[in-house]
Every structure is written in structure tokens, then in C-alpha cells.
Subunit: 420 residues, 2 copies
């Protein structure tokens, strides 16, 4: 017997038939004697429609009212699934954020979960009732207002509920059957990764593999919660029910590094297309110049990712390249234009025709030459590197978008990730 | 300065433009210094869609989960209107049933409001903030579950909120500009009634004039709350803001009889098309036979309206005619079929090709011959009366549906209701 949280996203509950399909997934666990809480997103498209209405009425909307509106989609799917489960003979009850409660901070529209008292929910689950919980939403206890976690927040809700009810595993059902060594649409030989560490998954998640929301992985890491990525499109009866000690037979298990016996030097290759590059040329090279560029960007809440700086041959000037989210490029250029008035003449070039490719693996910590192999491989293919950034377990390079597929395929092969 | 509750139904908030139009109605009151609470329905069509999903998943749905699902529509419109008001520069906040709270009994799907503590809402309104309240829903305090009031329940929510915050008037905005002496589509000379008593309105409401929900009028009557019926399709700036002592210049005010100086003998003519007639022929005439027919119908929660009984010329048998809601006719016939096994052979005939026409007026109490005039008028037109029922302030007749328009027109003229 295991305590299981099952999370289903918008495409998995997109209509009545899909909701009935989710009920069959839950039935499989229930029939095996597992105790189940389900966390749901809104029907695919619903949240977009609600957001559109809010924006049509007022682009400068009040975030608390925005939250009251957009949180309604999860209320619908949670109630419908509870009914679908009851129709299958399974006792079930829906729970909205405020009913549990899932307490959040006051950052409406992008709130963080502050606390969940899971004791009542756990009691109900222990009686054999399935709890169907609305993802994406909670309540801000000071004002009693509904707060939402931001797009993709249901993964985080699922992880937080799993921690709160002391679940053995949190299964995230998606439209893929696990985390792959890279995007199988680009590399047909990509393999499903049976086990991946929290750290690697965090890098994968934040670098463009949109399988799991970053915050849900962070939460799982902090509390030592096992996450799994499974496919909701699999025939419900084709999957084995959760059995502790035998989780890796399907999907991808995200867990502590200690639980992974056979570590890879490189576990996966991620790419992020929504990057834009800004290059500042002929900037006067004097102390504090970087701060005077990046300070205002930070104040404008623009996230700068990779930064490369070179001194020009004359020694008096410096060239600087950095990347931002493509969507934030226009705002970034506006900020820099203002800085120009302070810092004197420099040239600015920008392009969103770039892609960030990353190799990720906890094995890097103990292996030398991993980055060098990457650079050599790209060089062999004639691919120019525009910027580099590294962390303990990843190396990222910025390259021209035209070479994205070529780079990913070459790296996937050279690090031995291709399926045999 | 007045404290005003404004209620808008589904067609008045059917899309973003209509919601902005509602905001302008509210702005008119706000600008005049009135304190405002708004009560809203869901967008037209939304609740039907939600109900359809519930039924598709399971015809035997759990009423508590049904309520969780269908209550979401009002949450959306309330949030959107709050944003629309803020965009007009008016401080506003949305309130769901559980946030106020609006406490109900446990009859999910058709709950009754048990209590509203309006003190916090009133405090907020007194600060100049407009409260936007979700109609149709509340919370059952024992279980903490959302409960809905049944279709059309937003009128009742509005009246109950008005009582709770001690409002001076509750304005119900609809697609008509008031209550008419009869349906203007049938009688072009029908007139708007500036003032009508609660008792008359109750008869009008329950007899087929679907302008106001019955329960909202009952509530208003018990608490002496003034209700008005106004048009939400009127240009917002064309209506005068609420001014106590000068309410009857527009719409229809529903108020206590004492406030009506000039009472009519007959105030209005109502008709109800959704009636069905059941006739039982050659029933053995013995004591208790009526109870053995109507007892089982009552147990099956089938509401019987008009009842007529005759003894046949041989004195041994009796014929009985009664009416039920047309939608309940099949179930009623089933019940009677079972009774037949007990009561022996009788003949059953039924028809839903009938209509109930009623004349309504508090003046009837002190005037004789009102009913006689009705019967004579119908007789003059060659219309056969199938059944009659009366109360202190109304007379209803059942006639063949073919004569409905003819009857309404003739009665409207004979009681002096035609516009000059």
C-alpha cells in the first residue's frame, strides 16, 4: 500500500472523455489498495480564455480579481473528476485551495505556496476516499482572497500536496511517457531516462525541457519527495499500479542523487529557443560599467542569463554580450537605451535568432574534459559558439538557431546517449 | 444617498462588452454617491454548459460536486466586473458565497439561504468600495461545501444580500423594463405597472411571468425590502440614479400593499403554458379515493395544481381532473398506473395542450363579481373552461392552448388594462 499523488494537466482533462480516462487511471491505483490524492489543471484552453477576458476588460487588471477569475477552471475539472470517480464506484470529494487550505503568499498571479495543513486531507484519504484537489490555486490567509501560482503551477501544487500528506510518490501525468535524454522529435534515438537526480531535472526544467515546472522539482528536492513523469495517454490498464521499491519500471523517477547507482557523465541535452542575444559594442572600459548596465535591467525585473565580456584590442573599450528571454528583448533594449544617455556612445546589436544548448549531468562533477568535448564537437561541425556559461553540473552554449538540431544530434551521439 | 443592490442576470453579463455596460450602470449609481453591492449571474450559456458536462459524466451525479462545478460561472463574472469597475476608476472587490459567507442549508442544487452576516460587506461598502457578489451560490457551513440555490437563484441572492446589508432598494436588471399588465408580445396595449404589491408579484411570478424568482419576492415581503425591475439594456446614462422617495419614475417597484395608493381590481393577467391536464374517468366514488391518488403523487414530489372533481350521473363513480407541470406528466402517469392496481379499473386521459390563464389583483378582496366577469368574458368568446382555481387575490382557469392569446387579450381589455 502506498500513498500516491497523481497530477493531470490541461490536455489530460480537456473534455468529458479525457476526464473519464483520468478516472480509470485513478481506479487502477484505488483497486490496488493505494491511497490517492489527485491534483488537476483546468481544461486545456480554459485558462487562456479566462486570461483573455480579463485583458480585454482591462490590460491593467487587479491581480486579486485576475486570480478569482482564472482559478475557476480548476474548480470545474476537480468537481467533474469527483463525479466521474463516484460513477466508477470510488468514494471521492473535490477540494479547492481555500477548502484545504493551501495557503500562499500575497504575490497574486505568481504566488508561492506558504503552507498546507494536510492533516484533514490525509485523514479523509486514510478512510479510502480519493481527494481531488484543484491545482494552480490557493488562498492568501491575510485577506482570504484566492491566489494563483502562475502558469504551470499545478505541478507545484501536486508536489506541495504530496509533501503535506506525506505521500510516497507524486506522479505527474503528461503527454510524454517520461523525461528523455533530449527531445525525441529532434533525435529519434533519444532514450527515456528511468532515473534522474533533482539537480539534473532542475537544469533540464529551467533550460527548456518543459516536462516539469521548476518549482515543483525544487520542492521535491527540499523534502526528499519522489516525483515521477508518466503518460496520461497510456491505456490506464497498461500501467502497473504504484508499488514502493518498484517505481522505475515505467516513466522517469526524479529522486535524490544517492538513489542513482549508475550515474552518467552527461544525462541529457536541453535546448531553449526563447533566448535573445544583446551585444553592446565599444563600451568605455572603466570600473562599474557592468553594474550600470545590469543594475537597471535587474530593477526592471529582466532576467539576464549568459554574460560574456571582452576587452577590445585597443584596451580602452569593451564588448559585452548577454542573453535575455526573447519576450523581454524589447523592454531590455528600452532600458539600455536609457543607460546610453549616462554611459556615452556605444553600439547595440540584438538578435533573437539564437538558441541555447546545454549538456547536463551530475557525473560532470567528477569528470574532467566534459566541456572541452562539447566545444570540440561543435567546432567539428563548424558551429560558432556565441557565449558560454557553466555550472557544476551543466555547460550551456549559445549558438545560431539554424544549427540547433545539428548541435543537439551531434552532442547526443558523442556523449553516448543514442539508443543502441 | 441610498444603499443599493443591483442584480444582473446572464444575458446582461453574456460577454466582455455587456460586462462593461454593467460597469456603466454601476458607475451611474456610484457617481451619484450611492453605496452599491452588485449581484451577478454567470454568463448566459455557461451554467447550461457546466450542467451538461456533469450529466455527460454521470446522470446520477453527487449534488455537492455538481454545486462545486456549476458555481464557477458566477466567480468568473464577479471577478471580471470588479476589474471593469476598477478600470472605470471605481474601487471594487468581488465576493464569492463562501467569502462573505452566504450560509445555506444542505439541500445542494436547490439550497435555501439560511443566514448572511452582512456586517463586513456593509463596512466595505460604507468605505466607498463596490462589492460584487456572486449570485446563485453560498456555502453549507457544516461541511464547508459550496451550495447552489437552483436555477434563477441569483434574484434570491440579491434580495438576501440586500436584506443583510440593510439596503434601501434591490434593483433587478433584466431584459425588460418592468413588470407588465400582461405579456406585451401577446397584447401590444399592455402597460408597465409602476407599483405592484408583493402578494400580486408572487402570483405573477409563480404563474408564469418569469420576471422575478418567487423566492426573492417572498424574502422581500418578509423583510419589507423594496424590489425594482429595470432594464439592463437601457443606455446606462439614460436612467436616473436611485433616489429614495422617487423610485417609481422607472421600472416596476414591488412593495408593500400600504405603499400603493391607487389599487386596481385586477393588476395583471398571467398565463402558464407548461401545464398538463390529467383526467381520471369512472373512478369508484368511495371515501379516501382522492387521498389514494394524490398521496402517491405527493410522495413522488409531483406538484399538483388545480383539482376538479365531479360525481357521474349514476352516483357510483366520480371523474377527477387535475394539472401538473408538463415536464412531470410522464412521471405522474406512471404513478397513477401503479395506483390503478389498487383502485381497480378507471380510465386515464391526459393532455399538455392546455394553458392556465390567471387574473391577479389585491382589489379582488373588496370587489365582488370579478370572477364572474372573467367566466362571462371567456364564454362570450366561446372558450371552454376545463378547470378553475382561486385564491384571495387571483382566479385561474385552465383552457385549451389554442385560445390562450384570445383569452388574454379579451381579459386585458375587459378589466381596463389596455393602454389609453
Amino acid at each position: 500500500m502506498a500513498v500516491v499523488v497523481m497530477k493531470f494537466g490541461g490536455t489530460s482533462v480537456a473534455n468529458v472523455d479525457r476526464i473519464k480516462n483520468v478516472a480509470r487511471h485513478v481506479k487502477r491505483e484505488f483497486a490496488a489498495g493505494n491511497k490517492v490524492a489527485v491534483v488537476l489543471s483546468a481544461m486545456a484552453g480554459t485558462t487562456n480564455q479566462l486570461v483573455e477576458w480579463v485583458r480585454e476588460i482591462s490590460p491593467l487588471y487587479d491581480a486579486r480579481e485576475y486570480d478569482a477569475v482564472v482559478a475557476s477552471g480548476e474548480q470545474v475539472t476537480a468537481g467533474l473528476l469527483a463525479i466521474a470517480l463516484q460513477a466508477e464506484g470510488i468514494p471521492a470529494r473535490s477540494w479547492q485551495g481555500w477548502q484545504i487550505p493551501i495557503e500562499t503568499d500575497a504575490a497574486h498571479g505568481a504566488a508561492r505556496i506558504a503552507e498546507i495543513d494536510g492533516s484533514h486531507l490525509r485523514e479523509r484519504i486514510d478512510t479510502g476516499e480519493v481527494a481531488v484537489v484543484t491545482g494552480f490555486q490557493g488562498i492568501e490567509p491575510e485577506t482570504g482572497r484566492i491566489a494563483t501560482l502562475g502558469r504551470g503551477g499545478s505541478d507545484t501544487s501536486a508536489a506541495a500536496v504530496a509533501v503535506a500528506i506525506k505521500a510516497d510518490v507524486c506522479d505527474i501525468y503528461t503527454d510524454v511517457d517520461g523525461v528523455y535524454t533530449t527531445d525525441p522529435r529532434i533525435v529519434p534515438l533519444a532514450r527515456r531516462i528511468p532515473k534522474i537526480s533533482y539537480e539534473e531535472m532542475l537544469e533540464m526544467a529551467s533550460l527548456g525541457s518543459k516536462v516539469l515546472q521548476t518549482r515543483s522539482v525544487e520542492l521535491a528536492m527540499v523534502y526528499g519527495l519522489r516525483l515521477r513523469v508518466l503518460s496520461s495517454f497510456a491505456e490506464p490498464d497498461s500501467l502497473p499500479p504504484v508499488e514502493i521499491g518498484n517505481l522505475e519500471n515505467i516513466g522517469t523517477t526524479v529522486c535524490s542523487e544517492d538513489e542513482i547507482v549508475e550515474t552518467q557523465v552527461v544525462s541529457g541535452i536541453a535546448y531553449a529557443k526563447d533566448e535573445a542575444k544583446v551585444t553592446i559594442l565599444k563600451l568605455e572600459d572603466k570600473p562599474g560599467v557592468a553594474a550600470r548596465i545590469f543594475g537597471p535591467l535587474s530593477k526592471a525585473a529582466i532576467n539576464v542569463d549568459m554574460i560574456v565580456q571582452n576587452v577590445t584590442p585597443d584596451g580602452a573599450h569593451t564588448d559585452m554580450t548577454f542573453t535575455v528571454q526573447a519576450a523581454e528583448l524589447p523592454r531590455a533594449l528600452e532600458v539600455i537605451d536609457k543607460v546610453k544617455q549616462d554611459l556615452g556612445n556605444f553600439e547595440v546589436k540584438s538578435s533573437d535568432d539564437v538558441v541555447k544548448i546545454s549538456i547536463i549531468g551530475i557525473g560532470m562533477r567528477s569528470h574532467a574534459g566534459v566541456a572541452a568535448k562539447m566545444f570540440q564537437t561543435l567546432s567539428d561541425k563548424g558551429i560558432n559558439i556565441l557565449a558560454i556559461s557553466t555550472s557544476e553540473i551543466k555547460v550551456s552554449v549559445l549558438i545560431n538557431a539554424d544549427y540547433a538540431e545539428l548541435a543537439v544530434r551531434a552532442l547526443h551521439e558523442v556523449y553516448g546517449l543514442d539508443a543502441k
